[in-house]
Symmetry: C2
Subunit: 228 residues, 2 copies
């Protein structure tokens, strides 16, 4: 691990890549368009490619993101993260256990963890993760290995119970992003809403604008509460 920003990453608009959903465009091209238009953190998720190809892609994407100060997160594969100097990893419940990952990557790495149930979220309270991926917040065709959706109600409850940064993922797009933010998410993660968009850059701008508007609204609400 090396490079710039590590802890307290800005998870406002979190792009998760999927080469199969990118309408035949190279992942690096989608990442570039999104990174120049408001995405704050990028996770490379490649399940069906060789280690060598994954490393090559991660290096290409890192060259795009590093000058913009946007952290690069690798899904599951610590070997790829270590070989490429990525900023961290995102692990799921069937990936490397968190403790192992932290020991191997060190204190400065960003490590995010997916939680699919209240029980998994409860266990995660004992871990020093950098954020929780609340997954899936809505049911989605992108991932089929996930359980029941949290839905807005589940996200709201989790917000009251977790000390961690919450990144909602699953079925989020321009129509529901504001609701997700209002429910207590610190950021939204998207796959299709950017990767499968006709114009990934435009999609990123729209989503980032929604996140920022929701954040201003939350701050205003907080002030009004204090003032009343």
């Amino acid at each position: 691990m090396d490079g710039g920003m590590k802890h307290a990453p800005d998870v406002s608009l979190y792009l998760v890549t999927d080469s199969r959903l990118s309408l035949g465009r190279p992942v690096a091209e989608v990442v570039r368009a999104a990174a120049q238009n408001g995405v704050t953190i990028v996770q490379l998720r490649e399940k069906d490619c060789s280690t060598r190809d994954f490393i090559a892609l991660a290096r290409r994407v890192r060259e795009i993101l590093a000058p913009l100060g946007i952290p690069l997160i690798i899904n599951d594969r610590l070997d790829v993260a270590l070989a490429t100097g990525a900023d961290g990893v995102h692990i799921g419940q069937s990936d490397m256990p968190y403790g192992n990952a932290r020991r191997l990557l060190g204190e400065d790495a960003i490590i995010g963890l997916s939680v699919g149930t209240p029980e998994e979220a409860r266990m995660a309270e004992m871990l020093d993760v950098d954020y929780l991926g609340v997954s899936p917040v809505f049911s989605t065709p992108t991932k089929t290995d996930t359980g029941d959706a949290w839905e807005i109600e589940g996200l709201k409850i989790l917000r009251t119970r977790s000390r961690h940064r919450l990144v909602a993922i699953g079925g989020i797009n321009q129509t529901n992003a504001a609701t997700v933010m209002a429910a207590g998410a610190d950021g939204i993660a998207v796959v299709s809403a950017i990767c499968a968009a006709d114009d990934p850059g435009k999609a990123a701008r729209q989503l980032r604008a929604i996140v920022e508007k929701s954040r201003r609204r939350k701050i205003l609400k907080g002030c009004q509460k204090k003032a009343s």
Copy 2:
């Protein structure tokens, strides 16, 4: 990386696991039987399992092998090797580049590299690998992503050109192991010949006996040459 023997591993009888070929028996059970009966090094190769399951399996196998002083090698996945304290990794041409792997694992790790062509073998002469996997020496149904077989003739030529320890793999069994050793292999790697055997322990004993007999014959030949 930690544990016992590292460099100059004994590659005489090299077991490569394949859970799909193990006739429904747990991999750890096959490994135990083989390890107690002459296998000198074990590589875990798991392509279709989660990182968490791979790590759990590697830990189980390491507990079996460590007391016997038999090194555990992980196929491709440096993350799994690092998380479990395995003795090294085996990498193919589409896995992590050798230089990256050596930097991440350190000098004491065992790193083997598959070579499928004379050109790949030529490139490997520049690398400080611990052994070459000459793959496939015969064509085999186990791996379908490999190129033409080396055959005995190719192995003989490679022996004259390579400074590395050569481990032949692909289609080796009790009927051809002696020929492979006589052609210049330092050891034989098997999958089916042990994993798919009715009695993996017995198969390991037979194969190890063949290897040792071939080795004695080679030493004898060398002495006769010197004496003549």
